[in-house]
């Protein structure tokens, strides 16, 4: 009986040691983040004024200000980028265009009087609703404030005029400061 006990104990010990030694962990691979949007850029173009491009980037302290003129129509193009790997910048806007039915871009202004509508180069979904990737902005009075740019995923409505009306999940919500002069 004693021998048996010893044998089993030895076996267990041997097993344990073997296990400890067999565990060598490999160095983990770095994760290629695929969902990431690191940068939102707004490009303001008009016939009379020089083109302005604002960029909102992750880990950036201050965002540049756009200076717009009253009653001047601007063609505003929004671009979403993944610049996490400087060697391979990815244009997420392309993905959004391909999945026009489940995405929506929207703008909310605070302290500003700006009207906006879909531009001629805008993308429309299967129902003909504009995605607002390209829009025409017309400031109506002077002032200073900001615009919040939204990218909405799987909106419950595609025809709303408020953020809450669109439903869905917010993929992007960033603020850009804007000044409007006479």
């Amino acid at each position: 009986m004693k021998n048996l006990k010893h044998n089993i104990l030895t076996l267990v010990l041997f097993f344990t040691t073997a296990l400890f030694f067999s565990c060598e962990k490999e160095t983990p691979e770095i994760v290629e983040e695929q969902e990431l949007i690191t940068t939102v850029s707004l490009k303001f173009q008009s016939e009379e004024e020089p083109t302005q491009t604002l960029r909102w980037q992750l880990d950036q302290e201050n965002v540049e200000r756009a200076n717009l003129k009253v009653n001047t129509p601007y063609t505003v193009t929004v671009t979403f980028l993944d610049e996490s790997d400087p060697g391979a910048i990815e244009d997420i806007t392309q993905e959004i265009k391909e999945e026009a039915d489940v995405h929506q871009v929207f703008y909310e202004f605070s302290g500003l009087n700006i009207t906006f509508s879909s531009g001629s180069g805008d993308i429309k979904d299967a129902q003909g609703n504009p995605l607002y990737l390209e829009t025409i902005w017309t400031p109506t009075t002077s002032g200073a404030g900001s615009v919040r740019v939204y990218l909405i995923h799987e909106p419950t409505s595609k025809t709303s005029t408020t953020r809450s009306g669109f439903g869905g999940e917010t993929d992007v919500a960033v603020d850009f400061p804007i000044s409007i002069i006479d």
Binding site: V12, C23, T27, E32, E35, I92, E95, G111, T170, V172
Partner: protein, 806 residues
């Protein structure tokens, strides 16, 4: 011993019930049963069965049967004697007509030993009261998960993520503070994840024991909340083929479950058993709307093969559990503004028609266990036991993602563990019982990098080695004293990528430069090694105050190393719109707990009252600390911190038999928790709750009807973690308070059960049962449900259950 009646506290407790007479017990009970040979179950003729200290006796007939009549309620000592066997003494509690079988060792010359086999459950601990679920109580929950079954015990609550994912919470603690032991080995799943339900099928087990506190040192000293021990059916040495099948149909979710098991035992001790369970549900329904994408698929199988003999035995068992669970679609949100909108809406923001389809967001889990056990009994009533278990736990979580990546898991974790437990137990004339043992664990977590999402939990190796020693001293049936100690070493070796800025901002660059390996772009690879040494101990006494009253007092000390989530987690929670960060600077958590129990265990009125108080040092908790600006707007960041905490409360149970047909049960529990450093109430403490149950069964016992009412109060004590978010309304910025802290209102809920017994006796009974949950279709929300911001709890459910035993 006379019943101890002068305890004023019990009187206060029972005051609502008017008179009761403890002495008014009639001596009309009988004890019957059989005396059989332990080896081959052959009846033993001519054995003398007597009651110690009385003139009651009976001699067994050819069938081994005996009958003792005219017994009084209370505890008696039965002595079984036979010329060829050593006498056997056994304590039996008489409070109804009772059947009790004795197995005696016939071949005394071959083995100087007598083993008593009984259907009762071996108690894990004598100085702590344990709650037990067995047989029929488990079958009643056969279509639900293990946590829901446990929640029927007082002092247990559910931490939910929606309606199908739930974890048990004991005395306000959950996750790594609650241990689950199945087949004698700790379940190694991702218990640290609040939205990870225990991956185990309750149907495979015969009894569930719940011990509130870190009392079962054999299985670990880190479970300050409690430990849940799941035990399969005990195998008997007889030639038998038996099994059971249960079918459940449910109206809510338009689904059901099927469970079937089959067992074969032989007189030589060989046995084999198999069980299979399948569950399938579509979208569940709250009282007023469909809960879209809350369907569920689950399947499990278990196979067991072994040999049980007196001197030794072994078992090989394999089990596999797999599920796919939908997460409420409306709970997948992008940012704080979405959360704000969900909070202001009475209904989920997305309600689709009923479907069985489970789409993203969803969870897939799989757990496999391969276990080998061996035991050896030596001559001096000593027993060696070894268990080895290899467990694989996989969890995949799917989010709603762009560009058809929703089919690619966002979290893909594989946790493999090897556990070894060796114990030696010895009892000396049943007065001194000793048990000691050692255990070892190797845990390997692998986080698949192909998810395209930053790892929530990094790759790590964890080693644990522990040793314990417990003693139980029971000089007589009125007194027992036990104590135990356990030592554990816990070692982590993790390889994790940090954002370089996070690594610096959290002060890790200064505190842990030795962990840095290489810098890769914006990331830094670290190799983190941490060691923790934990000491756990307990001591307690149990004193019987007469034949029906019992008091127990126990002190427990537990220490727990922080878990992988508390140390390393790094990521965004979609349903809570929070960023969660682990903390490398956490120390081990130390908890002192005192538990007192006073109970009356016999008579037409049974009651127990169990108050407790615990003090925790370096208690790990998660709390919001400021907002982080992200591309999705401002996000609240939740970090893990350590604080000192005091918790206390009580659980109470009361049962009263009005007559042989009508009985009443009442249980309540209350938990108090306070953060001593922040001077705040603790978050996520269950509110006061109370359940009353009335059961009616006719004399024939052919059917019974039960109605239960549950009251859950409003949690008034909660920390205020509300914060402000700037929304834009009508062209101006409006700061809005995001009220995430306020608990929902209390509620009342009624459930009804009707059971019709078809054939057989007690454990082998077949029956049909009709269960109606939430009879009044009450619309309520639960504070401990992490998705309470989005939807109400389930509406009325009508369930038909058919249990066949053969």
């Amino acid at each position: 011993m006379k019943p101890f009646c002068s305890n004023s506290f019990l009187f206060i407790l029972f005051l609502g019930f008017g008179h009761f007479n403890l002495q008014g017990q009639l001596c009309t009970f009988s004890l019957r049963g059989k005396v059989v040979d332990l080896h081959d179950n052959t009846p033993i003729f001519g054995a003398l069965v007597s009651i110690e200290g009385t003139n009651f006796f009976s001699q067994t007939d050819e069938e081994g049967s005996y009958l003792l009549e005219g017994l009084c309620a209370g505890q008696i000592t039965v002595v079984v004697e036979h010329p060829q066997c050593r006498p056997l003494k056994k304590e039996v509690k008489i409070y109804s007509q009772k059947e009790y079988n004795f197995q005696i060792e016939h071949h005394i010359n071959e083995l100087e030993e007598i083993i008593v086999s009984e259907s009762q459950v071996e108690s894990q601990n004598s100085s702590l009261r344990e709650s037990i679920l067995k047989g029929d109580q488990i079958t009643q929950f056969s279509s639900e998960n293990i946590s829901e079954a446990l929640a029927s015990l007082s002092g247990v609550s559910l931490v939910q993520t929606g309606n199908t994912i739930s974890k048990p919470m004991i005395h306000g603690m959950y996750g790594s503070r609650v241990g689950i032991v199945a087949n004698g080995i700790r379940l190694r799943d991702q218990e640290w994840g609040a939205d990870h339900a225990p991956n185990i099928d309750l149907n495979a087990f015969q009894t569930v024991q719940l011990i509130k506190g870190a009392a079962t040192l054999k299985y670990g000293g880190d479970t300050a909340g409690g430990i849940i021990v799941l035990t399969p059916l005990k195998k008997k040495l007889e030639n038998r083929l038996f099994g059971s099948t249960s079918l459940n149909f449910e109206s809510n979710g338009k689904g059901g479950s099927v469970f079937s098991q089959i067992n074969k035992t032989t007189a030589k001790g060989l046995y084999v058993s198999a069980h299979v369970t399948a569950r399938r549900f579509g979208d569940f329904k709250a009282p007023n709307y469909n809960l879209s994408n809350t369907g569920l698929k689950e399947g499990s199988v278990a196979l067991k093969f072994g040999k049980t003999k007196i001197v030794n035995g072994w078992e090989l068992n394999y089990s596999r559990f797999q599920n796919e669970v939908g997460i409420l679609r409306a709970a997948h949100i992008g940012n704080t503004q979405d959360l704000l909108q969900a909070l202001s809406s009475q209904e989920p923001l997305r309600i689709d028609p009923f479907t069985y389809t489970i789409a993203a967001p969803k969870q897939e889990g799989m757990h496999q266990n391969l276990q080998l056990s061996y035991y050896l009994t030596t001559k001096k009533n000593a027993k060696w036991k070894w268990d080895y278990s290899y467990q694989i736990n996989q969890r995949k979580e799917y989010d709603i993602r762009r560009n058809s990546r929703s089919t690619l898991p966002a979290i893909d974790l594989k946790l493999q563990s090897h556990t070894i437990l060796g114990t030696y137990s010895w009892d000396n004339k049943a007065v001194w019982n000793f048990e000691w043992g050692t255990s070892g664990l190797i845990e390997d977590n692998f986080s698949n990098p192909n998810t395209g999402v930053k790892r929530l939990i990094p790759d790590y190796l964890k080693y644990e080695a522990g040793a314990f020693f417990v003693v139980d001293y029971q000089p007589n049936n009125l007194f027992s004293w036990d104590w135990g100690v356990r030592l554990d070493g816990v070692f982590f070796d993790a390889q994790k990528f940090y954002n370089q800025t996070d690594w610096e901002n959290r002060g890790y660059a200064l505190s842990f430069p030795q962990f840095e390996v290489t810098k890769m772009g914006t990331q830094i690879l670290t190799d983190i090694t941490l060691a923790f040494f934990n000491l756990a101990g307990r001591t307690g006494i149990s004193i019987a105050l007469g034949p029906s009253y019992e008091t127990k007092l126990a002190y427990l000390h537990s220490q727990r190393a922080p878990n992988a989530s508390e140390l390393f987690s790094d990521g965004l929670h979609h349903s809570l719109a929070t960023i969660e960060n682990g903390n490398l600077k956490l120390k081990k958590e130390k908890v002192h707990k005192m538990v007192f129990s006073l109970s009356k265990t016999k008579g037409i009125l049974k009651a127990s009252f169990d108050p407790y108080v615990s003090y925790a040092n370096d208690f790990i908790y998660i709390a919001p600390k400021g907002l982080e600006q992200t591309i999705r707007g401002a996000f609240p960041v939740w970090n893990y911190f350590a604080t000192n905490v005091i918790m206390g409360g009580f659980d109470s149970d009361l049962a009263y038999d009005f007559n042989s047909q009508i009985s009443f049960k009442w249980s309540t529990s209350y938990t108090y928790g306070k953060d001593l450093l922040e001077e705040n109430p603790l978050i996520f403490i269950p509110p006061f709750n109370s359940t009353e149950k009335i059961t009616f069964a006719p004399k024939s016992k052919k059917w019974n009807f039960e109605i239960a009412h549950q009251f859950v109060g409003t949690q008034e004590r909660y920390p205020d973690f509300d914060f402000t978010y700037n929304t834009i309304e009508m062209g101006t910025i409006v700061p809005k308070k995001v009220e995430v802290s306020t608990p929902p209102k209390g509620y009342n809920k009624i459930d009804a059960f009707f059971s019709l017994y078809l054939s057989g006796k007690e454990l082998s009974q077949s029956y049909v049962r009709l269960i109606i949950q939430n009879l009044t279709n009450t619309d309520y929300r639960n504070y401990l449900n992490r998705l309470r911001y989005y939807s109400s709890e389930l509406g009325r459910n009508i369930q038909l259950q058919l249990v066949l035993r053969y």
